[in-house]
């Protein structure tokens, strides 16, 4: 039999048929929804008098609009309140499981899916959210989709899609100390560009991914979309199965062994053909920080802010715009740039291991006076586990605010926002203009430990020089 990549195998297994426009009608095994991109889709169903075809395959949570500093309803923002109520109503009416705030299982949709064991190898998964690529860490093919496609999924459990090409990105060798999964993906995007992945699914592989934990794999897959790739995945292995085992929606008892066997069979075959292969030496990846207004505008923490004559003709306009917006001086060192806010959280870096890693370093340090530092667990379960381990105390003693679960300051749909042109050292995934709530607010993306170092020193700093222990 012809050697195939995981992408091809999963695609073929889920293909219903070829549509008249040449696209594929693809069956989607799991559909995840949240409050921002689903209400209009339910509205369209009602308009057309359609039901949800497979309600047991759709799971809902609420994340973008939930305030992280109040839990009582009604929320003080009436629009946010209307959105959570609408989702509740829709799930109720259409019989969809909802991990509501009161269940103790609520959180960012891309944290909740894996946590519940809903995300499994060989699946197709879709969600009206571009960071759905996160779920690819399990060897699933996971697509971010628009609201019309959410409607299509609700009504048919399928959607129309064009097949992607596959680019294998191998990161081999060993990462330097203090270099994290976040640095790996920022480095990949820096090298391949923010639209380098257009038309591709990214298959991440090599020594570094073999050794990564599931949470590290999720961090990388999460930001595939920032590199223009709609899908990013890692082939499933024992690390994957170990993570899934025992979770609420994981296969149980005799089903487990069969499931593992099936999952394993989805991994890319040796010798399968890729449309492109990129190899990266892990040793060359520095702690990476974005200085600009897209995630590809990133440099090593010890490098200098690019000047106009150091970039290609093509990048002139973009560099100029970014320098102006970020209020940075071309050619000056990145290190030492003063920050105002430190944000730890998001679907990229809001999981237990992220918080543990930071807490390990933060112990005994204090957030610098005048810096607002918040830590927002990715889910209620992450929060609960962190509290059990006493992490909340380490954070609050250091001067961080410990918040409730949600998307928080990753984007501006809840009360957590930058003010004016504040600069935020952020563990999230997007540094677009205005992303964090103020039209002039500035974002620098970096690993969680680097965010903590920035909080402690009040400036962008190589964490390895701050936490020397």
């Amino acid at each position: 039999m012809k050697a195939k990549s995981l992408f091809e195998k999963v695609w073929d297994a889920h293909t219903v048929k070829t549509l008249s426009n040449g696209q594929t009608q693809l069956f989607v095994g799991r559909h995840l929804i949240h409050e921002v991109t689903s209400p209009q889709a339910f509205g369209m169903l009602r308009e057309k008098g359609l039901a949800v075809r497979y309600p047991e395959r759709t799971f809902a949570t609420v994340d973008h609009i939930v305030p992280t500093n109040e839990s009582a309803e009604p929320y003080s923002d009436p629009l946010a309140d209307a959105m959570i109520k609408e989702l509740r109503k829709n799930c109720d009416e259409f019989d969809v499981t909802f991990f509501d705030v009161s269940t103790g299982k609520q959180g960012i949709v891309h944290v909740v899916g894996p946590e519940q064991g809903l995300t499994q190898p060989g699946m197709t998964i879709a969600c009206g959210d571009s960071h759905t690529s996160t779920h690819g860490a399990f060897g699933a093919i996971a697509f971010g989709i628009g609201t019309s496609q959410v409607r299509d999924l609700l009504a048919t459990q399928t959607m129309a899609l064009g097949k992607l090409k596959v680019r294998r990105i191998e990161v081999n060798g060993e990462l330097a100390p203090g270099v994290y999964a976040k640095d790996v993906i920022l480095h990949i995007i820096r090298k391949l560009g923010v639209n380098g992945g257009t038309g591709y699914a990214y298959e991440y592989a090599g020594d570094v991914f073999d050794c990564f934990s599931m949470e590290e794999r999720m961090t990388v897959c999460n930001m595939s979309i920032e590199g223009g790739a709609r899908v990013g995945y890692v082939n499933p292995d024992d690390t994957t199965f170990e993570y899934i085992k025992g979770r609420p929606y994981a296969p149980k008892d005799e089903d487990w062994d069969n499931a593992v066997e099936t999952w394993r069979s989805f991994a890319s075959d040796d010798g399968c053909e890729y449309d492109d292969v990129v190899r990266i030496d892990a040793a060359n990846i520095p702690p990476t920080v974005t200085w600009g207004i897209n995630p590809g505008q990133a440099i090593g923490v010890d490098e200098f802010i690019p000047s106009l004559d150091s970039v290609s003709n093509d990048d002139q306009a973009g560099t100029k715009e970014a320098l102006e917006y970020m209020k940075l001086e071309a050619g000056s060192p990145l290190e030492g740039t003063p920050i105002n806010v430190a944000f730890l959280g998001s679907c990229t870096n809001g999981r237990l291991s992220d918080l543990e890693e930071v807490a390990k370093h933060l112990n005994g340090h204090k957030v610098k006076d005048g810096i607002k530092a918040i830590v927002v667990p990715g889910s209620q379960i992450v929060s609960q586990m962190a509290v059990e381990k006493g992490l909340d105390k380490i954070f609050t003693e250091a001067g961080f605010e410990w918040r409730g679960a949600g998307c928080s300051m990753c984007l501006a749909m809840n009360p957590d926002k930058l003010i004016g042109d504040q600069l935020c050292a952020s563990s999230s995934n997007r540094n677009f203009k205005g992303r964090q709530g103020s039209p002039t607010g500035r974002t620098m993306l970096m690993s969680p430990v680097m965010v903590a170092a920035a909080a402690v020193t009040g400036t962008v700093t190589d964490a390895r020089n701050v936490f020397k222990n």
Partner: protein, 198 residues
């Protein structure tokens, strides 16, 4: 209900300069607190058009001469970032029926086609020529011809590109796939059964 066949779009055009215009720029997240898409047109490119105090900034989108535009010209990687359909929805509700750019982010492209908004890619020289033409012929009609893969403006005839499948779906009035998807329910049930998971 049969969908309209979209062979071409004609109307006044506007140039919105810049590469990598992301969906946060097209519709800032704080305006997505809504349960319907109605009214989104008003907030299109809000933070580009207004300052902190709500005063209009100097921008082509605030220029009266372009206020009737239904075609938008922009730079590379248009619509990158979030999957929010709110972005094409706000363009549509603000009256836009076709977009010309260097190239498009994938999810944005797909979302737009689903709404029947053709998105055509054009190379840099042609975009520059068209931008200049639009500036000196404000309010004059431009045609985005999906069938011929051309953009015509006055004496200019510029070639453009669009992925074949998407183009066919516009030309055949099949840009919203729901009816076709619904017609395969039996096959879908079968696949659902064959697959090992729930």
């Amino acid at each position: 209900m049969a969908l309209a066949k979209i062979n071409q779009v004609t109307g006044p055009a506007i140039y919105v300069p810049g590469d990598d215009i992301d969906t946060d720029r097209i519709i800032p997240a704080r305006f997505m607190k809504c349960v319907t898409f109605d009214g989104l047109g008003e907030y299109l490119f809000h933070d580009v058009r207004f300052d902190d105090q709500g005063n209009k900034k100097a921008h082509s989108l605030n220029d009266e001469r372009f206020s009737e535009s239904s075609i938008m010209l922009s730079g590379k990687n248009f619509g990158c970032g979030s999957s929010r359909e709110h972005a094409p929805q706000s363009l549509y509700r603000a009256g836009f029926r076709a977009i010309i750019a260097g190239n498009f982010a994938e999810i944005f492209f797909g979302n737009s086609i689903n709404l029947g908004i053709p998105c055509v890619s054009m190379e840099a020289d042609n975009r520059a020529a068209l931008a200049q033409w639009i500036e000196s012929n404000a309010g004059t009609e431009v045609t985005v011809d999906v069938d011929q893969l051309q953009v015509r403006a006055g004496d200019l005839t510029l070639s453009c590109e669009m992925r074949a499948g998407a183009r066919d779906s516009l030309l055949n009035g099949a840009w919203d796939p729901l009816d076709e998807l619904l017609s395969a329910n039996q096959e879908v049930d079968q696949i659902a059964q064959e697959l090992a998971y729930v």
